[in-house]
Symmetry: D2
Subunit: 393 residues, 4 copies
């Protein structure tokens, strides 16, 4: 890399490309590229990232897989009705949506294509590679924003490629892992934005590292967990002992329906709880619920009740209610991650990008859950990477 | 100072020594000294302070001024009834309360002693000095926890000692300033724990510095403001634009009654708002109320409603309700500040202790309101001061 | 009146016809008439009103006064952007909006027409009468939904018509009273939906009664006050003693801006507090705030904190947060009141319609604030009036 | 019964007599009898009950069963530490506690006495009868405040005494039913204050009626459900369509631990949900959780989130947080029910006392869940019963 070397044209390949998060990211990227909106919610547009060698909004090309066939324009219209997307913006970027629509391919569907998982890996990897060639891309960052799967405990035992191949041959592998295999096979950096298994099996992680691929995850930290990793350190820094931290999440939309499945919700609850216990210790009572409340549509409401003990045993209680469109919180982070992973890849970084911990509930390769420490780590990494690329102040 | 030099016996002289915060601090210190309770809520007992040269709980001797004559035991009993203090602890430390009771002196009362403010300064300074000699103290840290006064704009113009003396001669000086003059005159480090003027007039600050005295303030950051300075950076680090941050505080007790006076509340509201605007910029709508609700007794309830704008203009709302005994939050910080200021004084530090910003709503000498940055600053200062004293890891 | 006599074609003349509440009512009425929407929020569509002789949606014709000249379509579009009105509905009723637009006349504007209030009364009454003749209406119900005015204490002393005429001649009369004079002069039943003075001066009330006109008011009970008059009786029926009931209201929109004026807010706060003290007695601490928070747009957020004392002094606390588009809560009540007042007028009822107390924060002619008792009173009145008209089961 | 006939000396036999609710009721009754406290929280002390022929506080004698052996004084002290009972009151009534202590007998314990349920019924009935004779009581009202049991579906099939006897012989009957059998056998009116089965099996209900016994239940309506049955009618009377009503309950104490058992919680959740669906229809999404949070001690915190649809589909949201000591809410209702059931028994009423519906989550013999209608029903019944007894205004 020369001075001020920049990552260049970068693909963003979305797994679950027709879902709410993906559609919001696609519409938002188009709007940013067209200068229609301010980059509110985009971390990489903050001053601290001003001289970082990131791909510009107009250097990112989007494609992806999905098992749904619903047209992007239709999903975008539904998100307008739900209040997530502004009507004017969606109509202004209609042509860009059409362009992305033409880059979407049928994903791996366990219900129909389950029989030949090895073949499906090859097919998906082929789609990613063709996309890169078609658009002359330096790299394609694959980001999983598909529906949450249930935990796959067996994955932790798949230590070598042969074992993984055997599992594929047996048709036992979850969809997120099939897609992550394809990404690694196709030489793509990977971001796990859901709590699904995805790339997180030993054989795949090793393969990614060997091929010089950086990866990051898992489970985007957008709402309640973000709050928790900001607030829990406040209690500990004031020497207040948190005794219980109870939470209830109400959500509708597709996410609510997926998480109404007790197996899928198990992944999510695990992921959400880990940070809290890491920050406060295991003795905190922390009941947590996720309820499917369809009438809330795209809105996600989280209520937390914290009970702490202070000086001479005096009680302190804190209640929080967070209400937001989860897709609108997640989408800009997907774009930020695409840029940052592209920068890392361009800089020759490989393996888990621990500096991206602030974006995730359950960060790969990091035990750091404190948001303030995570943010400092991110800034430091950006500074160092920028300097190495010949940039910076 | 030699290796591992320690600050030694330290006085804590409380202005408003018979109030709820002071009584809670006095009872708590006695309980800590006797090993009756764990140091929950005491920042200086966290691991980061483990090797710092702080006075031990048994090296701190308490005295103070108050214009009320209510016996400490009586106030302590009232705090037991209110739920702030545990009944067993108060009876176990009764003898220590009696000892402190004997160290309390009548404070400066504008209603009766207004005529001769210069004489009152001398009298108060005399009380402080006699206390130091009586107990053979290395220093006496004066901490103001008396009732909040209204703002005193004239104070900002008192640039030299002559002007201050003239104001004293004219009997125009607020009680907190009279007491702060006495503290400086008596060679005592000073902590302004309320939003009153206290030491914060140019002539006094300069005098303190000249006499080698460190000082810190103002207005202890215990509840709602603490939350705000923790949460506001979360929004900015996620590039979410806060549009409004509305707050309502309900409080009873003496504090509620004092703040029912619109002039006194003005000090408090100024102090509370400053941090928010510093963190988010001045364009945030931030209506704020403090209501006297006597039936809440010692409980303070704060409700905050935050409205932010996210990606593509999507709204985010956060509501917080904080409920706690304010005295129980403030008291351990008073003890922490006594220890830390003693350490600073022993180390020869003078002037505003900006490293203590995390303890205050409106920190002297610092524009830093972010709690995470403040905490880092504190830890760094403790590390450096500890090393300079020959301690540390 | 014969058997099953019905009130027939009825005018709804809106004071403040271009505001958010009026526009929402106009769009909603059009949508109901066209069968585009279900009558959610319309009390008069509940089963209890099934056989009442009310004018049908297609028998109500709308006109009104406003001092703004902003086109209804434009206001409707703004309400679509704000999320209050569904985009499809507004476009489907565009022609009906145009029709109403042609029935709007310039209102009385103190800033410009202040000089000749008697002449203005005559002009406004003329507009109302012409409207009735133009559409061959049985009656015109005038409903004030214009901006809240400050209290007008002098109004209470205007006991006879001569005194009122003198005040008009002197140009001293608030706009709402000028318009109410016009309504009475024109023989129109009147509904005061705001806390402004309107018809509530002795001379006008007597004149209305003499002319056989029913009237109702004041200040529509839509949100926080509705909750309070539902919940306060729960405490009293359980013998729990409410000690404090604190409230904060955050609102944007035009209403927020109007109520940022401390004189206007005084009317509103009076009106809101009256019911609570009537239900719980005067010893309840009840601080109440209304804050203008422009970024909330049409959303109104109310937070209430209730502290009660139970058995053996045990505390009970209840917190409420209510969030809604106030215009969407008010608009259907405006339509309900139009129908119910038309029914009363048709039945020959005159003077204050105390049976409509459940619709108001500060009901004319009634000291009953309990919502359950008010609802029972409404149902009983509807039953009796329906039977008298020859209808009912 | 003659004129102004009064029910006379009445026993209150508590099942679970050493628990928090029972102890609070016992202490409170003693304090009321001694005139130490005002009857806050006691419905029967409201003006509407002023002339009703109820037993006086000094006419109620308390005894009971429990399987725990913890002394009442000890439980009372624990409730003082927890903040539920005032320290002064407990010490002032110590002698009365000792008197009640001497009236407590060992209850039926499935863990140890499971073998001979018929014998246990006889033993428990014997205790109740002996208590009545010992104190020369007109009747003994048995009130179940023991721990919640899991549902017992088989109970609904026990139509005749033979079947019930067979189940007892087989040792299959839950503890609450064993105790209710004893109560009926001993000729005692019965109140089911928990969601356990208790008297609610066909054979027992018929037997109670035949023996001239009134009964009431089930599951005291103290907190969240009370709020729901007050607020749900507000929405329906305003024609607002509730789409979801989500709830989370956090509780510690013994109740929390009992309800951590998923089988016990099933009873409670059933009981809590029934009213909501009755009031709003079955289409409301109503996820509900009860979490054991031991550090909350006696405090019960309930959070409800209501989402409704208003005019033209506009959303309305309401959040509620209720925080109280559940025992302090339940105890006065236990005393009220004792008095009211005594009055009913004295008046010769038998079978389900539907007029007492306002006290229960799941009222026996009534489908009326609206609190306002229930209260009206109670008042009407008291009026009629009072008049029949020769009293009243």
């Amino acid at each position: 890399m020369g001075e001020n070397s920049r990552p260049g044209r970068t693909g963003l390949w979305l797994l679950g490309a027709r879902g709410s998060v993906a559609t919001t990211a696609i519409v938002g990227l188009a709007a940013l590229r067209s200068g229609l909106v301010r980059p509110t919610g985009c971390v990489t547009e903050l001053p601290a990232f001003g001289s970082a060698p990131l791909p510009g909004w107009d250097e990112i090309v989007v494609g992806g897989h999905d098992i749904s066939g619903t047209d992007l324009h239709k999903t975008a219209d539904a998100l307008v009705s739900a209040g997530v997307l502004p009507v004017g913006v969606v109509s202004a970027v209609a042509a860009q949506l059409t362009a992305v629509e033409s880059e979407l391919r049928h994903g791996y569907d366990p219900a129909t294509g389950g029989g030949d998982q090895a073949g499906e890996v090859a097919r998906l990897a082929g789609d990613m590679g063709a996309f890169a060639r078609r658009h002359d891309l330096e790299r394609v960052v694959v980001v999983n924003v598909a529906s949450t799967e249930s935990p796959w405990p067996r994955g932790a035992d798949l230590d070598d490629v042969a074992a993984l191949d055997a599992a594929l041959a047996a048709g036992e592998v979850p969809a997120s892992v099939v897609a992550a295999c394809a990404a690694v096979r196709a030489g793509c950096p990977y971001v796990e934005f859901t709590p699904s298994t995805g790339i997180a099996i030993p054989a795949l992680l090793r393969m990614a590292e060997q091929r010089g691929l950086p990866y990051a995850g898992s489970d985007g930290k957008t709402g309640e967990t973000l709050l928790r990793t900001v607030l829990a350190p406040m209690f500990t820094e004031r020497a207040l002992v948190v005794r219980s931290w109870a939470g209830t999440n109400l959500l509708g939309g597709g996410d609510g329906a997926t998480l109404a499945d007790p197996r899928a919700v198990a992944s999510k609850l695990d992921s959400k709880s880990r940070g809290l216990h890491a920050l406060l210790g295991g003795e905190v009572a922390a009941p947590l619920h996720i309820d499917n409340v369809p009438d809330l549509g795209q809105t996600k409401v989280a209520w937390d009740h914290v009970h702490a003990e202070g000086f001479l045993g005096a009680p302190v209680t804190l209640q929080l209610t967070w209400s937001a469109y989860d897709s609108a919180l997640a989408a800009p982070l997907v774009l930020d991650l695409t840029r940052l992973v592209a920068m890392a890849h361009h800089a020759g970084q490989r393996g888990p990008l621990t500096a991206l911990a602030c974006f995730f509930k359950d960060p790969f390769g990091s035990a750091q859950h404190r948001f303030d420490h995570q943010v400092r780590g991110l800034h430091e990494w950006v500074r160092v990477t920028t300097e190495a690329a010949g940039g910076g102040a």
